[in-house]
């Protein structure tokens, strides 16, 4: 984490309890009181328990989890729309929790932008005026904000609708207005709470591309809540999975798919299109098991899907897996590759073996 540039987000020992007398129960929760117990005994709802996440600058952090597991609650802590019951939220090295009011306001104006699960558009403002809202709050001149806003509206496919009011738009269009509003803000931290849930696959892919481009070009730090595994895998440099307010597993998409921490996570990723996630590396047999270098070679970091596609018309036989420099790493057969696409357990077992080897 470079200290000179934007410093990323770090959440440390974050607790949130909903209820009138939340502070009194933190200690008990720390000592292991469960969500159900807390609710039954004290009538308080446990929102988050001991969350620790590091989000390096310039990465996309995806958060997933069951409905009601605390994702929205967590993301709201990053710009302190919710005050935590205990813990720290460091953004660029500063603890948001301790910010005085004026500083918090500046922080929200310039450091963060948010897309809301339920859109939260301003019903009395036209699409365009909704989009410039953040800039207006920052005090940017109107002509300039309109330029920016129009650019983003066009990018999200709402050109021609700028003078309509939100209640004249479809759900997905409203969601895109929320998106344009956040993007127009050009903040280093983007908080996106199920920002694409109402979009059709085409526009959704397009919006994912927007995000990836943005992130490549200007290194935004993005926190992205989604229920779509493929989306998570496509976007997420890191994925965190929540259950009942706790983080169950954190890691890269490969980690999550290949090494689910428990049955819950395994179940969660069961339906994923593995061919797109798992790399050849993960299922090859390490060198030495079979004889040397045969004819066909493929790169280790290809996804299985890509590998199958390139090999579909190649001759039978073992294929050598090589690293970027051309060094052979292992072998794999077409049949293994195809099998890995459809069979969770097999790949997992192997992946475990690899992981064990690597360690």
């Amino acid at each position: 984490m470079a200290e000179h540039a934007f410093g990323g987000i770090a959440i440390r020992h974050l607790y949130k309890i909903f209820g009138p007398d939340a502070g009194a129960h933190v200690e008990a929760v720390r000592n292991g009181l469960t969500k159900t117990e807390l609710n039954e005994r004290h009538g308080h709802v446990l929102g988050l328990r001991d969350i620790n996440i590091e989000m390096p600058s310039g990465s996309i952090q995806v958060i997933m989890g069951l409905s009601g597991s605390g994702k929205s609650t967590l993301i709201r802590h990053i710009n302190r729309l919710i005050d935590p019951t205990a813990g720290e939220v460091l953004v660029d090295g500063v603890d948001v929790v301790k910010m005085p009011e004026a500083e918090l306001r500046e922080f929200r104006r310039h450091q963060t932008a948010m897309v809301f699960q339920k859109f939260a558009l301003l019903p009395h403002r036209s699409v365009l005026d909704n989009t410039i809202f953040g800039l207006e709050i920052q005090g940017v001149a109107r002509a300039q904000s309109i330029d920016t806003a129009m650019r983003w509206l066009e990018r999200v496919g709402l050109k021609g609708f700028e003078h309509k009011y939100p209640n004249q738009l479809s759900g997905g269009m409203q969601q895109r207005v929320g998106l344009a509003r956040a993007l127009a803000n050009d903040a280093p931290v983007l908080l996106m709470d199920e920002a694409y849930s109402a979009l059709d696959p085409l526009i959704r892919t397009d919006m994912q591309t927007v995000l990836l481009d943005l992130q490549k070009e200007i290194k935004k730090t993005i926190v992205f809540i989604t229920h779509d595994l493929d989306e998570a895998l496509r976007l997420g440099d890191q994925i965190a999975i929540l259950r009942d307010g706790e983080v169950i597993q954190q890691g890269t998409s490969q980690d999550i798919v290949l090494r689910p921490a428990d049955d819950y996570v395994a179940n969660f990723v069961k339906e994923v299109n593995r061919g797109r996630v798992v790399h050849v590396e993960a299922i090859m047999a390490p060198l030495g098991a079979t004889a040397a270098d045969s004819g066909q070679r493929i790169a280790a970091d290809l996804t299985i899907e890509e590998a199958v596609r390139t090999l579909a018309s190649a001759p039978e036989g073992d294929i050598t897996v090589v690293d970027p420099s051309g060094m052979p790493l292992g072998t794999v057969t077409f049949r293994q590759l195809a099998g890995a696409m459809v069979n969770a357990h097999e790949t997992n077992d192997r992946a475990m073996a690899i992981a064990a080897n690597a360690a």
Binding site: L81, A120, L122, P123, H124, S126, G134, E136, I137
Partner: protein, 295 residues
Amino acid sequence: MDWFYQFPSMDDNALRNLKKVIDETFRGFTRNYGDLIEGFFVPLQHFLIASERFMTKTPWPIITLLILAIAWAATRSIRIAAGCLVTLLLIGYFDMWDDTMRTISMIFVCTILSIAIGLPIGILMSRSDRVQRVVNPVLDVMQTMPSFVYLIPVVMLLGIGKVPGLIAVVIYAIPPMIRLTNLGIRLVDKDVLEAADAFGADNRQKLFKVQLPLALPTIMAGINQTIMMALAMVVIASMIGVQGLGQPVLKAIANQYFTLGIFNGLAIVGIAIMFDRVSQAYGERLQKHREVVHG
């Protein structure tokens, strides 16, 4: 068992003495501070006199044009401007022009003042439950303490005339403005407010860009009620020497000139409808978004 049927009230003598003491205290107060307080309101008095002079001394076609211009600028509605014109002509034809102008001058100042004071108080009230708890009973007192009760004290303090009249009117007319501003802001959707927070809006920005626009329908209802109540006080105000349509009404009652009362009463109603339609139409122009509905 007497106490059971008859409330054991304070001893008559004690009560009488208490009353006397309070009376004397107040009398002493006016004696000592009356001039000071009266002096404080002198600028307001000058303004009121100037405003009334303007309304009565300016030739009627000019005033009529002026009122129509304001109505048109605020509403962009020919229907409303025409309504104002007809009302004014009828009032003039039935020989109530001067009194009407006096009343319009007075009520206009009262309404503007009530809005200007009531809106900020309503906003403060909506921000804090504590303020709400304190202000609410005060508003109750302002609305229900019979104006007759404070007419004499007010006159003793400020004499008869426009200023005490204005104070009496504003005291009575301001509570709905405050109450409905408070209610309107409190009913604003929490999600939208959260979005404003998330973008770093400060209190001022939240107020002007989110809360007030969204509370507008309710605030406009408050303005409507304030106008209505100010006009309902015209007669009471005329009891302490405010000139205008209230005085012919008082005369009509005293003399049982039924029709005179009705005519002047209708002129008051006419002013009410003019003020109300213009302000409400202006309010509607500010909330275009409510016209379009999905489906």
